[in-house]
């Protein structure tokens, strides 16, 4: 299978994630769709790493995974804090960032 097919899958997954981020209003699902986009980036990085035959792209992919894990933990912390303060779990309702 040529590298181009892997890149095509990564493009499709990235765009599906973009649709999800734009249409869903539940912040949990928006975070899931961000994960989709990051994973599509990972697939492209690993595909290019295979294309060049050196491991640099795989290290990039690992760093992306670290960033995604941090983003998820902080994002879910925000969701839990919203739930505790009885705020609506809806990104369209939350237009202001306040302390």
């Amino acid at each position: 299978v040529s590298i181009g097919w892997f890149l095509a899958v990564s493009v499709v997954v990235f765009c599906i994630g973009a649709i999800g981020v734009l249409t869903r209003r539940n912040p949990l699902v928006v975070l899931l769709c961000l994960e989709l986009m990051l994973n599509a980036g990972n697939l492209a990085l690993i595909g290019f790493s295979r294309m060049w035959g050196n491991g640099d792209g795989q290290v990039f992919a690992l760093v992306v995974m670290v960033v995604a894990a941090c983003e998820v933990s902080v994002g879910l912390g925000v969701v839990v804090a919203m739930y505790r303060r009885r705020l609506p779990i809806d990104v369209d309702e939350l237009r202001e960032l306040q302390g």
Binding site: I3, V59, L62, V67
Partner: protein
């Protein structure tokens, strides 16, 4: 063999991604994402990235998804199955179609001849943990350290954001163990760290 595996893994990855945005219940979105991540790990294996595939399964499909399931169960997923209005949905799909066209042109229409091949000739140790570990500790040492520091900040931030403000409800507060009385104040429990401890209000600092 490779083609068949690629077909199934690629279809699983795309199908899982579609399931994430189609499911109305966030719980099913999470399960769909787990399926997507496992398919993606299979794709990584086809690209000879064994270590990243294993990390994907353990870190993502294991740890991160468990965190998601816990939060969905805590917040109560079914009641917030909301989507945007119809006009916004159409706009989003149009935007994504434009993005897809642009990315396909950028990725497949590029001048890179090697995209149409199966990749360079590999050394025997390509993608093994030894290879990745050596790269992380030599060429990418700074990125490695910054990533570990970022994980630390992420953990602290999550605890700070999700902690319980204003202490426990009264009923729970009365449950004081023997050690709470014997131990001097602020000598390190998790409850004190997030400000919900018994010592916090009930005893003067000594």
């Amino acid at each position: 063999m490779g083609e068949v595996l690629f077909f199934f893994a690629g279809a699983g990855a795309i199908g899982g991604a579609l399931g994430v945005i189609w499911a109305t219940n966030p719980f099913y979105s999470v399960l769909s994402l787990v399926f997507h991540l496992l398919s993606l790990a299979a794709l990584f294996l086809l690209l000879q990235a064994q270590f990243v595939a294993a990390a994907q399964v353990i870190v993502y499909a294991g740890a991160v998804m468990v965190l998601y399931v816990f939060v969905v169960a805590y917040v109560g997923g079914a009641s917030v199955a909301l989507t945007a209005t119809r006009g916004a949905r159409v706009l989003a799909v149009l935007f994504a179609a434009a993005l897809a066209a642009e990315l396909f042109i950028a990725v497949l229409g590029s001048g890179l001849q090697a995209v149409k091949t199966e990749g360079a000739v590999l050394t025997a140790q390509y993608g093994t943990p030894a290879h990745i570990g050596e790269l992380l500790l030599t060429k990418f040492l700074l990125a490695f350290e910054v990533a570990s520091f970022l994980l630390l900040i992420g953990a602290v931030g999550a605890v700070l954001l999700a902690r319980r403000r204003g202490g426990l409800p009264d009923e729970e507060r009365r449950r004081v163990s023997f050690y709470d009385v014997v131990r001097p104040g602020y000598t390190g429990t998790m409850a004190e760290g997030v400000g919900t401890a018994y010592h916090h209000e009930a005893r003067p600092r000594s």
